[in-house]
Symmetry: C2
Amino acid sequence: MPVLDLTASSVDLTRTICDIPSVSGDETPLADAIFAAVDGLDHLEVTRHGDTIVARTNLGRAQRVAIAGHIDTVPINGNVPTRDVDVDGQPFIWGRGTVDMKAGVAVQLKLAAELTDPRVDITWMWYDHEEVAAELNGLTRLAASRPDLFEADFAILGEPSNGQVEGGCNGNLRAIVRTSGVRAHSARAWIGENAIHKAAPILARLAEYRPREVEVEGLVYREGLNAVRIGGGIAGNVIPDACEVEVNYRFAPSKDGAAAEAHIRDVLAGFDVEIVDLAEGARPGLDAPLAQEFVAAVGAVPQPKYGWTDVARFSAMGVPAVNYGPGDPHLAHHDEERVPLSQIEDVERGLRAWLTGA
Amino acid sequence: MPVLDLTASSVDLTRTICDIPSVSGDETPLADAIFAAVDGLDHLEVTRHGDTIVARTNLGRAQRVAIAGHIDTVPINGNVPTRDVDVDGQPFIWGRGTVDMKAGVAVQLKLAAELTDPRVDITWMWYDHEEVAAELNGLTRLAASRPDLFEADFAILGEPSNGQVEGGCNGNLRAIVRTSGVRAHSARAWIGENAIHKAAPILARLAEYRPREVEVEGLVYREGLNAVRIGGGIAGNVIPDACEVEVNYRFAPSKDGAAAEAHIRDVLAGFDVEIVDLAEGARPGLDAPLAQEFVAAVGAVPQPKYGWTDVARFSAMGVPAVNYGPGDPHLAHHDEERVPLSQIEDVERGLRAWLTGA
């Protein structure tokens, strides 16, 4: 079993844990190593739930903060093991997971071991299956079996945010829009009814749609409405009787799920619309006192988070949550995924400063 | 091996050969039976080329007619063996192949055996792999290896035509129209460029298109232009960078392939269009003297053939060709495929009358 030395630098720890492959579904070796590294520490109460590991201080502090990071990655594509690279004179660690989000996890692991006397109680959470279906997500499953572990006054998710504080997240809706027709041999098309042709106005409406920018608690969330998949037709000589357009709507956290659904049904009025997935967003949560202290301590200018992240799970459980981690989210899942060493160190410094009150 | 009794009625022969499954690629048992049934006949010179069988009279007649039928069917769907059914008081044989086109083949087999002294020389051709890719087609392969066997003054293809004479056929063009964009996470759609949205005007043009009706040698050919397949997108959270629309254009035989291609490129101007399949149509061929005699002898009012058939192969080799066979082409490939007994008998009578000059 690989051994994690939590006294190493967070940069070295990032290299080590990135070089332990942990594509969703195969997190056990990394989860084993994390468990072994923290289980012996006196100041932490460590429990394991599948490949999700929870480590809590119990210092009787007035407030508790949850700090979480997922340990899985999207599939490796020739980009493990990591390499040290230089881009525009700046040193980076290159490889799968460096951005999303093992550098963030490395910082958390190091601080979990080091901070025996933080000014708030901390619930560290390292979890599996974030990059796949929601029902597999380690946090989802833990919230069902052990909701008590989520009790906190504030939560920080180490998702890549370029070392900035990104508040809340957009909601996410997926819908299937269907047209139907009548199948016929294409040599006698007039007997049939072409379902693909009927999809023309769906694509036209989506192409013409101008997404909104919505200000929520001082942050501007940019929405998006897109066809992400289309399919129809069965053979080169058959008039198609069915066509499906999958639509993805990213909506500002000022809207709840019902409002998002109503908007989509309005835009696509006259068509058969089925909502297949709906995750509400999360308001920035920056009005929470702990959040304001945190932002001040790390010296950040809060930004909106566009992508849906697990902050929404905390938010839904009544815990205000923000994203704060090293790495450029645009490089997440990218084959050239790479994190600047300076951001790893900045985030480590920021978290330590706030948690120790130094 | 099943034995074919060519002295049986063409209706009985239809039942027998429909009950010998011969889905494209599995024609050998039926080809064996046909070969065995005609190989011993003194008035025929029989050759076999894979599962294609050619039987020729060599009577030194001034003119030669090719009469051809494919022996394969599309896949069986619980509709073999055949059944006798009654529809609106009319007796039918129901089952796969009854329309497309074993009733036609049955009539041809019966007459091949019976007509020892026809007034024209006859080249009977029963061939495989008509329902699949053109390069597998028994006639295509035979035309490459033995073009001499196609020498004829006129050709009759037994494709279903409701016992009417259907002249020529529309041409058939398939094209792929592609749009491209830039992939991005759908949470940050503005970084990408949506290739599916860019397909909106393609579908709009196809939906608005009004197909023409074109008169050729007195027959009116109805054209058609349709999207037959569409596909694009890779995941529910990715802005798609590619979309493909497969377009099928059925064009009147007054146009050659180049004119058809030019028309498609004109309709879809501004888009990336790749022609992936192009089969020219066939003019009706009804101005040929033998064709006129034939139409008069069978007492038919010629109609245009909309679907592409192998008459175009004869036409391309300089042999005027028509479709003449029992069965409603709308029921070809249909799970309720069925042929009225009366049409089988009519076609048998028509062909016999013309070939014997009776």
